[in-house]
C-alpha cells in the first residue's frame, strides 16, 4: 500500500511539474494606433500586467493594405507616472524574443503603478520615417504568493481523494458482505 501512495505522489508531482513548465502564447491588445503609413498593435502579457516580468509585443502593419511590415526598429521607453524617482526604462524590441515571428517583443521588469509607454518605430525601408506612439500602461501589484503556489499546496488532495475513495468503497463492500465469524 505504501508503494501505491508513493506512486500516486510521484505521478501527481510529475503532472504538476509539467503544468508548471507549460507556457502558451496569448496576451491582450493594450494599444492600437496609426501614424503616417504605419498601424501598430501592442500586446501585453500577463493580462492584466502584474508587477514583475511583463512581456510587450508589437505588430506593425501598413495602414491601408494591412500588410505586415517586418523591417523596422522599435524602441520602448517607460516612465512611471506615479513615482518620478523611478528611473526610466528603455528597451529595444526584437524579433528573436517573440514566438510569433511577425512580431517584435521585449520582456521588461516593471513595478506596480501607472506607466507611460513611448514607442518609437523607425522604418528601415521606404520613407525611413520615425513614428512615435504614446500610451498608458497600468501595472497592478503582484499576485499574492499564495496564488502562485496554490497548485503545489493542493497537490496532496489528489492522492488523498483517491485513497479515500478506495477506502470508502472498501467500507461499502464490507458493509454489504456479512462478516464471517
Amino acid at each position: 500500500m505504501l508503494l501505491r501512495l508513493w506512486s500516486l505522489l510521484f505521478f501527481g508531482a510529475s503532472l504538476c511539474c509539467l503544468s508548471a513548465v507549460a507556457r502558451g502564447d496569448g496576451g491582450a491588445v493594450v494599444f492600437s494606433g496609426e501614424s503616417g503609413p504605419l498601424r501598430v498593435t501592442v500586446f501585453v502579457e500577463p493580462v492584466p500586467p502584474r508587477a514583475g516580468s511583463v512581456d510587450l509585443s508589437l505588430l506593425v502593419q501598413d495602414t491601408t493594405s494591412l500588410e505586415v511590415i517586418e523591417t523596422y526598429t522599435a524602441l520602448l521607453r517607460l516612465t512611471n507616472t506615479d513615482d518620478t524617482t523611478i528611473e526610466e526604462i528603455e528597451a529595444s524590441m526584437s524579433r528573436a524574443v517573440a514566438t510569433n515571428r511577425l512580431f517584435q517583443a521585449a520582456a521588461l521588469e516593471l513595478s506596480a503603478g501607472s506607466w507611460q509607454v513611448t514607442l518609437d518605430v523607425d522604418q528601415v525601408e521606404g520613407d525611413r520615417s520615425e513614428h512615435t506612439f504614446i500610451f498608458p500602461l497600468q501595472v497592478v501589484p503582484p499576485q499574492a504568493r499564495f496564488w502562485d503556489v496554490l497548485i503545489w499546496i493542493l497537490l496532496p488532495a489528489i492522492p488523498l481523494l483517491l485513497f479515500l475513495a478506495g477506502r470508502i468503497r472498501r467500507v461499502a463492500i464490507d458493509m454489504q458482505e456479512p462478516s464471517v465469524t
Binding site: R4, C17, V68, L102, A165, R170
Partner: protein, 775 residues
C-alpha cells in the same frame, strides 16, 4: 514565399517539459514495442508504432508549431489546434494500444515500484473505470467542447497562458476518455456491448454539428478578442469564424463517420458472444488496470526475487569504498579539519556570523547537507562524525570498559539535551554567535572523549549526543537501512559477529543486532557490522521511505517506550518551533510579550516558550486527538498509549519541515562559504579580501522555484504522515469503517499542521544574523 509565410513557418516554440514528455513517451513505447515483438506479441505491428508516433507528433504540432503562435490571431488556426488535440492525436494514441508497451517499456524498478502499484490502487481503478464509462466519457467530451466555446471562457483562454493550457489539457483529456470508449484498445476486452458505440458517436456528431453551425452561420463575431487583434492576411473576423466553424464541421463529421463505419463493420463481423459483454464477466472483472499488469507479467518480465532489495554496498566502486574502514576515517578527518576551522574562526575571527566560518559552515551548509542526505540516503553524518574519531585513543587512556549506568539506559537524557540544545539555539542566538558555536564544538569533543573513554561501546552516540538523536529520529524516513541481505542465512549464524565483533572487526557499538533490527533508530551507519559479518550478509538496503514507521516494521520499541516517544515528540514539535521562530510575525510576538512581561529575561522567556510549545502543548494536543480518535472508534488501549502509538505518524511531516527549513538556508545562502573562507584566508594573509564576495553571498533574491520545492517536500510529508496514521489505525480497529473513524481525527490534525507549515514558509523570513552589507 512571402515574408509573412516565412515568419509563419519559423514561429515554432520550444517547451522543454512538453518536448521531454513526448520524447520519453516515444522512447518508452518503442522499447516496450520492441520487447513485446521479440516475445512474439502479434498485436503490436508497425502500424501500432506508426500510430503512436503519429499521435505524439500531432500533440507536438498542436502545441509547439506555428499553430500555437498564431492561434491568438486567427480563430481558424486555433480551431485546427483543437481538432488535432481532440480528433487526431487521441484516436491515434489509442490505436497504438499504448498501455502494454508503455508499461513493458518502463525501467523495471519504475514499473514495479511506481506504476504497477498505482494501477493496482483501488482509487485509481475506480477513477479509470469511471472516466472510460461511455456515459461519463461522452458527457465529459461534450461538456469540454461546449463550456470552452462559451465566449467568456474562450476569450479568457486567449489572454491567459494558464487558462489556455487548461483549455488544451481539458480538450485532450476529455478526448482521450471519449476515444477510449470507441477504440477500446488492447488488452481491454470490450466491456459494454459494442452497439452502444454507434449512438455514442452519432450523438457526439450531432452536438458537434450544432456547435459548428453556430460558428459558421453566426452573423456576429462571437469572440471579441478576434475583433481587437490586428487583421493579418486580409482576413475579416467574421469570415475567419465561419471558416473555423466549417473546419470543425468537415473534419469532425469526417472522423465521426469513419469511426462509425469501422465500428459498424466490426459489429457486423464479430461473433455474437463478444457483443454482449462477455469480457465483463471474464478478464476485466478485476478492472482494466489489473489486466494491463497481468498482461505485462505474462510477457516474460522477470519476477523480482523476494529479498532482492537494492543494496548500496553492491554498487561497484561506491560499495567497496564505503566498506573500507579507511573511507570512514578519511571522512572523519575531513570533518575534523572543518571543525578545527570552525573553532579557530569562531574563537579568534570577527564575531560577525555571515563572514565567520563558525557562523556559516554549521548553520547553513552542514544542516542543509545533513537533511538532504537523510532524505535521499540515510544517516551518513554519523558515519563521518568527527567527534568519535578519538574514541579508541580515549578508551586506551581512560579504560573504556565501564557499563553505561542502568538508570541512564534510555533516551530521557538525550531527549532532554535535545530540548536544551533548541533552547540554547534560540536563547543564545547560536546561529549568530561564532564564539558560542566554537565552544559547542569544543564541548562536544570533550564530552565525547570523556564518555566514550570511560564507558563501553558508543554510549555517547546512543544515550547522550543530541545531534545523534536528531539523526536517529530523522533517519526513520530515510530510504537506506542496514539489514541482512538474506534473513534466512542469519538464522543459521552462531557467532553473531555483527554485534559481538569477530576476527574481521568490531561489532555494533550501539548494540544493535542486525537480524532483529527493524529501523534506523540508534544506527550510526558506521558499517562495523558490515565488515564484521564473515558471510558478507549485511547490506545497506533500500526500503520505501517511512516504511520503518508503519506498525509491522517498527516492532514494539517505538510504540511502547515513553523515552522514545519523548524523543520523537521533541523532534516533531521542535521542527515547528524552530521554523516558526525565524518568521517575522513570531519574532514580533516575542518582542511584544517580552516588553509587556518585564519580569522575564529573554533566556528564561525562551526556556518557558520552548517547554510550552515543544513539550506541553504538543503532548496535550496528542492526548486530545487520541481521546477523540478513541471516542469515534473505541480502540484496545488507553488514551496515553494511543497517543504514543500514533506519534510516529507525525514524523514524516515534521521531517519535511526540517528539510524545507534547512534547505531554504542552504539554497539562499550557499555562497556565504566563499565570503567567510575568503575573509579567513585574508586574515591569515593568504588572499586579498574581496568585499564583493561578501556582498553577494547571502540575502540574495530568493529564487522563485524554492517555495514550490519546499511545499512539495511538505506535500510528501503530509501524504506519508496520513498513510502511516492510517496503517496504525488499521492495526487498532476491527473493521474498515472503524479504521476510517479512528484515522479521521489524526488526518484532521495532520492537515491542520500542514496548513500551519505552509503558512510558516510563506511568511517573510527574519534573516537574523545573515546580513552583511546594506540595510
Amino acid at each position: 514565399m512571402s515574408s509573412d509565410w516565412q515568419a509563419f513557418w519559423i514561429s515554432w516554440r520550444f517547451d522543454f517539459g512538453l518536448s521531454l514528455l513526448i520524447f520519453l513517451s516515444s522512447l518508452i513505447y518503442l522499447r516496450g514495442w520492441l520487447r513485446l515483438r521479440r516475445r512474439g506479441a502479434g498485436q503490436f505491428g508497425p502500424w501500432q508504432l506508426a500510430a503512436m508516433l503519429g499521435g505524439l507528433w500531432a500533440v507536438y504540432i498542436a502545441l509547439q508549431s506555428p499553430l500555437e503562435a498564431f492561434s491568438s490571431l486567427l480563430l481558424q488556426i486555433h480551431m485546427l489546434q483543437h481538432l488535432l488535440l481532440m480528433f487526431i492525436a487521441p484516436p491515434l494514441l489509442w490505436l497504438a494500444k499504448p498501455e502494454l508497451p508503455l508499461l513493458v517499456g518502463l525501467p523495471r524498478v519504475l514499473r514495479r515500484s511506481v506504476v504497477a502499484p498505482l494501477l493496482r490502487d483501488e482509487g485509481v481503478r475506480m477513477l479509470t473505470r469511471g472516466l472510460t464509462h461511455p456515459v461519463i466519457a461522452w458527457l465529459l467530451f461534450v461538456a469540454a467542447t461546449w463550456i470552452w466555446h462559451l465566449p467568456a471562457l474562450y476569450t479568457r483562454a486567449l489572454t491567459s497562458t494558464f487558462w489556455h493550457e487548461a483549455e488544451h489539457a481539458t480538450f485532450f483529456l476529455a478526448a482521450l476518455c471519449f476515444w477510449h470508449v470507441v477504440i477500446a484498445p488492447y488488452p481491454h476486452t470490450r466491456r459494454e456491448t459494442r452497439w452502444i458505440v454507434l449512438p455514442f458517436l452519432l450523438l457526439a456528431g450531432l452536438q458537434g454539428t450544432a456547435l459548428s453551425a453556430l460558428l459558421t452561420f453566426s452573423d456576429r463575431v462571437l469572440y471579441s478578442h478576434y475583433l481587437a487583434v490586428p487583421r493579418i492576411w486580409n482576413t475579416v473576423p467574421l469570415d475567419d469564424q465561419a471558416v473555423a466553424g466549417a473546419l470543425m464541421w468537415a473534419c469532425g463529421s469526417l472522423i465521426y463517420l469513419v469511426a462509425l463505419s469501422l465500428v459498424a463493420v466490426e459489429i457486423w463481423n464479430a461473433p455474437q458472444v463478444a457483443l454482449i459483454g462477455a469480457g465483463a464477466k471474464g478478464t476485466l472483472r478485476t478492472g482494466p488496470s489489473l489486466e494491463v499488469i497481468r498482461q505485462s507479467e505474462t510477457f516474460g518480465t522477470r519476477p523480482l526475487a523476494k529479498n532482492a532489495r537494492w543494496d548500496l554496498l553492491s554498487v561497484p566502486g561506491i560499495g567497496n569504498l564505503l566498506r573500507q574502514a579507511a573511507t570512514r576515517r578519511t571522512l572523519q578527518v575531513f570533518l575534523l579539519g572543518a571543525a578545527g576551522l570552525i573553532v579557530l574562526d569562531g574563537l579568534w575571527g570577527p564575531q560577525i556570523s555571515p563572514i565567520n566560518l563558525a557562523g556559516v559552515l554549521p548553520w547553513i551548509h552542514w544542516r542543509g547537507v545533513l537533511v538532504i542526505g537523510l532524505l535521499v540516503a540515510g544517516n551518513f553524518f554519523c558515519l563521518a562524525c568527527p567527534f568519535t574519531l578519538p574514541r579508541n585513543l580515549a578508551k586506551r587512556l581512560l579504560g573504556g570498559n565501564h557499563p553505561w549506568p542502568a538508570f541512564l539506559r534510555s533516551k530521557w537524557l538525550a531527549a532532554g539535551l535535545l530540548v536544551f540544545f533548541f533552547w540554547a539555539y534560540e536563547a543564545l542566538a547560536l546561529w549568530d554567535s561564532p564564539w558560542w558555536t566554537a565552544w559547542i564544538v569544543v564541548t562536544y569533543f570533550a564530552a565525547s572523549f570523556a564518555i566514550d573513554g570511560f564507558f563501553r561501546g558508543a554510549s555517547f552516540c546512543k544515550y547522550v549526543c543530541p545531534i545523534g538523536q536528531f539523526q536517529f529520529a530523522a533517519s526513520l524516513i530515510s530510504p537506506l537501512q542496514i539489514a541482512p541481505r538474506d534473513a534466512q542465512l542469519c538464522t543459521t549464524c552462531t557467532t553473531h559477529d555483527c554485534i559481538r565483533g569477530g576476527p574481521q572487526g568490531p561489532g555494533c557499538q550501539t548494540e544493535l543486532f542486525v537480524p532483529q533490527k527493524t529501523s534506523n533508530l540508534d544506527c550510526t551507519f558506521c558499517l562495523d557490522c558490515v565488515r564484521a559479518c564473515p558471510k558478507d550478509n549485511v547490506g545497506l538496503l533500500a526500503f520505501l521511505p517511512a516504511s520503518q514507521l508503519t506498525p509491522t516494521a517498527s516492532g514494539t520499541r517505538l510504540v511502547q517506550r515513553n523515552d522514545l516517544a519523548a524523543l520523537l515528540l521533541v523532534f516533531c514539535s521542535a521542527a515547528f518551533v524552530n521554523a516558526a521562530w525565524m518568521i517575522a510575525p513570531v519574532v514580533a510576538l516575542e518582542q511584544a510579550l517580552l516588553q509587556s512581561l518585564t519580569f522575564f529575561n529573554r533566556p528564561l522567556f525562551v526556556g518557558l516558550g520552548i517547554v510550552l510549545t515543544a513539550l506541553v502543548l504538543p503532548a496535550l494536543g496528542l492526548l486530545a486527538v487520541a481521546a477523540l480518535s478513541n471516542t469515534m472508534a473505541p480502540q484496545k488501549e488507553s488514551v496515553a498509549a494511543l497517543a504514543r502509538r500514533y506519534l510516529p505518524a507525525l514524523v514524516p511531516l515534521s521531517f519535511a519541515l526540517w528539510c524545507a527549513h534547512y534547505a531554504f538556508h542552504l539554497l539562499t545562502s550557499a555562497g556565504t562559504i566563499f565570503a567567510a573562507g575568503n575573509r579567513m584566508l585574508a586574515d591569515w594573509q593568504f588572499a586579498s579580501l574581496s568585499e564583493a564576495a561578501a556582498a553577494c553571498a547571502c540575502c540574495g533574491e530568493v529564487a522563485g522555484w524554492i517555495l514550490p520545492v519546499e511545499i512539495l517536500l511538505l506535500d510528501g510529508g503530509l501524504c506519508l504522515s496520513l498513510f502511516v496514521a492510517y496503517r496504525i489505525a488499521e492495526g487498532q480497529s476491527h473493521s474498515s469503517a472503524a479504521t476510517l473513524r479512528a484515522w479521521m481525527p489524526w488526518a484532521v490534525l495532520l492537515i491542520g499542521l500542514f496548513a500551519a507549515t505552509v503558512w510558516i514558509l510563506m511568511q517573510p523570513m527574519q534573516m537574523r544574523g545573515t546580513l552583511v552589507l546594506g540595510g
